[in-house]
Amino acid sequence: MSELLLHVKGLSCERDDRMLIRDLAFDLHGGEILQIEGPNGSGKTTLIRILCGLSDDYEGELHWRGQPRHRNDDRFRQEHLYFGHLTGIKTSLSPRENLRWILQLKGVGERGPALDTAIETALEKVGLASYEDVPVYALSAGQKRRVALARLQVEPALLWVLDEPFTAIDRKGVAELEALIQQHASRGGSVLLTTHHALDIPGLRKLQLGLGGGQWALN
């Protein structure tokens, strides 16, 4: 059993006076993929925002690699990747500039040429080989999405927190992303994602939300 990454205990969250999640508890080890399911408004995105640190409107405990989150917050921020509905890609910049900014924000060590080659190979992998310096507003919706997905190729992170990653991607893209997720898990990372898409990934764990009164079910 590989290292325990995320440990959640007694997590409950109330949103405008109704109990969204009550006493949620689960552990996420390296190599595991957890899909969060539930109807719209059942608190999927709220849970994602709590787990990745955007929202602190909750009671309960969150531990990252054995330490409570408020103690190793910096380390957690460096070791996880958040991929939200809004991808964070600025349309007036080119894919290269977007990725360079995101990586520098993450405190990636590489500089200059090493960073550029890494970005180029990542863009190549998502099929944007010759589009490195085209402003993103000139790209198609699918290509815009793939610029964001290039982050998964290059951004160093142990835990991937993906919010609806499969939206606006064609069938080929979906298959590629599923393969990427499995590959990340096989190399010791873990993935936490919300999607309505039926994933055929072996060993996939599911967390069911929105069963009323903050109940949840984990298989």
Partner: protein, 242 residues
């Protein structure tokens, strides 16, 4: 995934501990590039500043004596209103496309990133005003050292205005109807800067020493630089907490 970076994908120990300078430079450089790609945001506050100042002689009459008397107030209030006009674009775009969330989740301390953002915003919107203000000073019959006082006071004062309005912008970034609210929040806090800014220019127009007023503006600047980024970071975290 064979690139050098990727072994770090699973073992992030390779990642350098975050350095403030890297975060600050990344945010500053990116915002400047974004600003230069979107000319309109750059130019609007400048035109607004020029037009508002040009209106006063039309409204109040062309006599040099009256214009000279009101010139300090006119230039400073126009600069203040232009800052208010341009502040909405500070966080709004990043909020809409999600990059604000990435900044919040970065290991770099948020107040450093925010400082980078505000300095970029100041360079883009306030600096052109300062550079153009001598021309407008001449239009209002200002003499040489009054114009010099205007330049110095604007140079010291407008960053404070930007930081105060950034606090308002951070607190209202998530709201649909944020625009006017930033003005209501920020205007009362502008008062000390306005008083000492116009005070300096007035003292110069009466050919008195204006070093004292500039010193106090400098003190406001240091106070703002020290405290405002923390209030802005707290405001952003609260706005995006929902």
């Amino acid at each position: 995934m064979g690139t050098e970076l990727n072994p770090a994908a699973v073992n992030p120990a390779v990642v350098k501990p975050p350095s403030m300078a890297q975060g600050f430079n990344a945010m500053l450089r990116r915002d400047l590039v974004v600003a230069f790609r979107q000319r309109s945001d750059l130019v609007n506050p400048l035109f607004f500043f020029i037009m508002v100042i040009a209106l006063f002689p039309l409204g109040i009459g062309p006599e040099p004596s009256t214009l000279q008397k009101i010139a300090p107030g006119v230039i400073w209030i126009a600069a203040l209103l232009s800052t208010l006009l341009s502040v909405d674009s500070l966080f709004r775009q990043d909020f809409d496309d999600g990059s604000l969330e990435l900044a919040l989740l970065s290991p770099q301390p948020l107040f450093v990133l925010v400082l980078g953002k505000i300095i970029a915003h100041w360079l883009v919107t306030a600096l052109p005003l300062i550079l153009v203000s001598p021309v407008l000073g001449v239009m209002l019959y200002m003499d040489a050292d009054t114009i010099q006082a205007t330049l110095c006071s604007l140079l010291l004062g407008t960053p404070v205005l930007s930081m105060i309005s950034a606090i308002g912008a951070a607190l209202t970034v998530g709201l649909r109807k944020g625009g006017v609210l930033v003005a209501i929040i920020a205007l009362p806090l502008y008062v000390p800067v306005l008083i000492f800014g116009t005070g300096a220019v007035e003292a110069a127009s009466m050919s008195m020493a204006f070093g004292g007023q500039l010193a106090i503006l400098g003190a406001f600047l240091i106070l703002a630089l020290a405290f405002a980024p923390f209030a802005i970071a707290a405001g952003l975290r609260i706005s995006l907490n929902g």
